[in-house]
C-alpha cells in the first residue's frame, strides 16, 4: 500500500478526507480530469496546477499504443514524460477496448481485440495490464475488469462479476510496485444487489488500498445508479478511498458524495467544453446559442476563473467550435468549476455545513423546486433534508421556464 487515507470530517455517510499519494496529498471528495494521451486537451500542466487539479487520469490503452509504455518507462515514467508533478491514475485499458473496438472478445485469458495499428488480434491479460501500468508509473493503477454494458441483463452480468474477482488475484500477483503504486479493485455486478454484494465482499477480502465502483454511468436509469453507489459505499471499508468511475455531472458528484464516495473521473467537463457548453451553478450554458452573440456578461458572474474574469459570453460565442482557443478557454472554465465543486464539497463537510451546501447547490440548479425524484430518494438515504428545495406541487411545466440558452443537466443525460 502506498497511500494514507485520513477522514477529516463527516456528515452521515458523506466524508471529507486527506488522501496522501506518492506524488501529492489530495483533499477528497475530488474530481479527476481525463488526460487520455498524456495531456488534458487544450491545457498546459501549469494551468492544471493553477486550476487546482490534484489527480489526473491517463488512459493505458492509448499510452500503450503510443508512445508505448516501454518508452514512457525509459523516459522516467508518465509524470516526467508529461511534466505533471502531482498525482496520477491510470485505468486498466480494458474499458477502451470494449468501448472503442467492435471486435473485442473477452475470454478467461483476457480481452482479445483487433490492433488498431495492423488489424491483427491482440490479447490484453490482467498480468499485462498491470505490467504496462507499472511501467507508466501512476500513483493509482486499476485492475483489469470484465466490463459489460450496464443496460445488459442476464447471466453475462454474473459471469463478468465472477471473472473480475478471479482476475483481481492475477492483477495482485502481477503487481511489481505495491510500495509505489496503489492497485484499486473494481466492483462489478451490474444493477443486481446480490451480485454487487458478492463482488464487494470478495474484493474487501483482498485488502486493497482502495476500491472503485465500476459498470455505472453507462445509460442506466438514475435510481438504479444511485442505489448501486449507496449499496457499495455502505459495505466498503470506511478507511479506504472509494472511486465511482465515469461520473462527471456535477449533480451526480454531489449525490455520490452525500452517499459516501470520494473520487470521480469523467471526460464530460472537457468534452462538453469542446462542443461549446459551459458548466455553471444553474446547470449548463450553451455558448453556441445565438442569444450569446451580444451578451456582454461573463459565462458565470459568480466565477473567479481566468476566463470569467476576462471574457464576455459574446467573445466566447465567436470562438466556440471554430477556433481552438474556444475549447481552451471553456475547458479551463469547466475544470475550474469542477475543482471549485470538489473544494466546496470538502470544506462544507469539514465545517459541518454539508446539508446547507447541498441545499444551496440544488436551489441554484433547480430554482423552481423541480429537483428530480431520484435525487430526493438518494438524499433521503443520505440523511440530508432537502424538503426546502422541492416545490410542494411541482408542475412539469416549471422546468421549461428557464432563461434562453440555459438547459437543465437532466435534459442532456
Amino acid at each position: 500500500m502506498a497511500l494514507r487515507f485520513e477522514i477529516l470530517g463527516r456528515f452521515n455517510r458523506a466524508r471529507a478526507a486527506q488522501l496522501t499519494l506518492p506524488h501529492f496529498t489530495c483533499q477528497t471528495p475530488l474530481f479527476m480530469p481525463v488526460g487520455t494521451q498524456g495531456t488534458i486537451k487544450g491545457l498546459t500542466t501549469q494551468q492544471l496546477e493553477e486550476i487546482g487539479c490534484q489527480i489526473i487520469l491517463g488512459n493505458t490503452y492509448h499510452l500503450a499504443l503510443r508512445p508505448t509504455s516501454e518508452l514512457i518507462d525509459e523516459l522516467g515514467g508518465l509524470h516526467k514524460f508529461m511534466n505533471w508533478p502531482r498525482a496520477m491514475l491510470t485505468d486498466s485499458g480494458g474499458f477502451q477496448m470494449v468501448s472503442l473496438l467492435h471486435l473485442a472478445d473477452i475470454t478467461e485469458k483476457g480481452v482479445t481485440f483487433q490492433s488498431p495499428v495492423d488489424g491483427k488480434p491482440m490479447l490484453l491479460t490482467p498480468e499485462e495490464s498491470i505490467q504496462i501500468q507499472n511501467r507508466i508509473g501512476a500513483d493509482i493503477i486499476m485492475a483489469l475488469d470484465d466490463v459489460v454494458k450496464t443496460t445488459i441483463t442476464g447471466p453475462r452480468i454474473e459471469e463478468a462479476m465472477y471473472r473480475t474477482l478471479r482476475w483481481i488475484d492475477r492483477c495482485i500477483a502481477a503487481h511489481k510496485r505495491p510500495h509505489e503504486q496503489n492497485l484499486f479493485g473494481i466492483v462489478q455486478g451490474g444493477l443486481d444487489p446480490v451480485l454487487r454484494d458478492i463482488c464487494v465482499r470478495g474484493l474487501v477480502d483482498r485488502n486493497l488500498p482502495g476500491y472503485a465502483i465500476g459498470g455505472l454511468a453507462g445509460g442506466e436509469d438514475k435510481d438504479s445508479f444511485w442505489r448501486v453507489v449507496a449499496q457499495c459505499t455502505a459495505s466498503l471499508p470506511e478507511d479506504k478511498p472509494r472511486y465511482v468511475m465515469g461520473v462527471g455531472y456535477p449533480l451526480d458528484i454531489v449525490v455520490c458524495s452525500a452517499l459516501g464516495a470520494d473520487m470521480y473521473d469523467c471526460v464530460y467537463p472537457t468534452r462538453t467544453a469542446r462542443f461549446g457548453t459551459a458548466l455553471i451553478p444553474e446547470g449548463v450554458l450553451k455558448l453556441k446559442h445565438q442569444a450569446m452573440a451580444d451578451d456582454t456578461r461573463p459565462i458565470d458572474p459568480t466565477c473567479d476563473c481566468m476566463v470569467c474574469r476576462n471574457y464576455s459570453r459574446a467573445y466566447i460565442h465567436c470562438l466556440v467550435t471554430k477556433d481552438a482557443m474556444g475549447s481552451q478557454l471553456l475547458s479551463f472554465h469547466n475544470l475550474y468549476y469542477m475543482m471549485k465543486l470538489s473544494r466546496d464539497l470538502h470544506s462544507s463537510i469539514v465545517r459541518g455545513q454539508f446539508p446547507e451546501f447541498v441545499r444551496k447547490f440544488l436551489l441554484r440548479m433547480f430554482p423552481h423546486g423541480d429537483v428530480p425524484q431520484w435525487v430526493c430518494n438518494a438524499m433521503e438515504v443520505a440523511g440530508i433534508d432537502i424538503s426546502s428545495c422541492c416545490a410542494p406541487m411541482s408542475s412539469p411545466l416549471t422546468s421549461e421556464i428557464c432563461e434562453v440558452g440555459f438547459t437543465k443537466l437532466s435534459e442532456i443525460e
Binding site: 494551468q47 476576462n310 459574446a314 465567436c318 471554430k322 477556433d323 481552438a324 479551463f332
Partner: protein, 262 residues
C-alpha cells in the same frame, strides 16, 4: 503612440523604440508583431502570455475581419474595444485588414468601392466606411489604412489602379476616422519600382503617424524585395515608424532593413 530612432547602422537599418499607451514599457525596434486569431495569439491563452518575453511580446497584430461573424461592432464598442474584449490591458494592438491565413486579399473581386477578402465567412467586400466602423469599435493603438493589395503578376494597369485606390481610401479613412489610434498609411505598388515610389510619395503627403508597407508575400521573388523596399524607404521620413507584413520566415525578415515593425 510614441516613436523615436536611437541609432543607425552604416546602411539603412536603424534601432529605436515604440511606446504604446498600455504597454508596461517601451518596445525596442525592430520588433515583431505576434499574429493572432480573433485577437489572441494562436493557442496561447492570456494567462500564459506573461511567460513570453516582456515587453517585446506585448505587440499584437489582428485583423478586424476576424470579427465579421461577431461580436458586432456595437457589442465590441459596448465592451470598450478590443483590449477589454480580450482582457489584455497591458498589450498594444495593431490592426491590419489582411492576415496570411484567414483574411486574404482577393484582388479580382476588389473594385472601386472597396477591398475584397477571402475570409472564414466567405468572400467579403470591405468599403472604407465599414473598415473605419470596425476600427472605431475596436480602438486599436495602431491601424493600417485599407489597401488594394495585388499579386506580382497582375498587369501594370491593374497595379497602377491599386496605388490610386489605396491612396484614395487612405483619404477616406482619415476623413472618416474618429478614434485616437495612430493611422499608418498603406503603401502598395506590387513589384514596380515607380509605382512603389509614387504610392510612397502620395502617402507621405498625408497626415499619418507611420507607414504600413503592403503587397509583399504575393508572388514577388525574394531577390526583388530589397530594391522595392529601398524605393519605398528612400521616400519615407526618417522619424516615422514603418510596419511591414507578409514576409513569412525569419530569414526573410533580415532583408527588410529600415523597417521597424514586422
Amino acid at each position: 503612440m510614441k516613436f523615436a530612432v536611437k541609432a543607425w547602422s552604416n546602411g539603412k537599418a536603424r534601432t529605436g523604440f515604440l511606446q504604446l499607451g498600455n504597454c508596461p514599457a517601451a518596445i525596442d525596434t525592430p520588433a515583431l508583431l505576434l499574429s493572432t486569431r480573433k485577437g489572441l495569439p494562436h493557442f496561447i491563452s492570456p494567462d500564459l502570455l506573461p511567460s513570453l518575453p516582456s515587453p517585446d511580446s506585448h505587440l499584437l497584430q489582428f485583423s478586424p475581419l476576424h470579427f465579421l461573424e461577431g461580436p458586432s461592432s456595437k457589442t465590441i464598442s459596448n465592451i470598450g474595444g478590443l483590449q477589454h474584449l480580450l482582457g489584455l490591458h497591458e498589450y498594444g494592438f495593431a490592426a491590419v485588414a489582411r492576415d496570411s491565413v484567414q483574411s486574404l486579399p482577393e484582388c479580382d473581386a476588389t473594385n472601386k468601392f472597396g477591398a475584397s477578402f477571402e475570409t472564414t465567412c466567405g468572400r467579403r467586400l470591405i468599403r472604407p466606411v465599414e473598415y473605419i466602423e470596425m476600427i472605431s469599435s475596436m480602438k486599436p493603438d495602431i491601424w493600417a489604412s485599407l489597401a488594394d493589395e495585388v499579386p506580382s503578376w497582375v498587369s501594370d494597369k491593374r497595379n497602377k489602379t491599386s496605388v490610386d485606390r489605396t491612396v484614395k481610401w487612405l483619404d477616406e479613412c482619415i476623413a472618416l476616422n474618429s478614434t485616437g489610434g495612430a493611422v499608418f498609411g498603406a503603401i502598395v505598388g506590387g513589384n514596380d519600382l515607380e509605382e512603389r515610389q509614387r504610392c510612397a510619395v502620395e502617402v507621405v503627403k498625408r497626415n499619418v503617424s507611420g507607414y504600413w508597407i503592403g503587397g509583399f508575400g504575393f508572388g514577388e521573388s525574394m531577390d526583388e524585395r530589397p530594391s522595392l523596399l529601398d524605393a519605398v524607404t528612400d521616400v519615407l521620413p526618417e522619424e516615422m515608424p514603418r510596419m511591414i507584413c507578409g514576409l513569412g520566415l525569419p530569414g526573410i525578415v533580415f532583408q527588410s532593413f529600415g523597417v521597424e515593425v514586422v
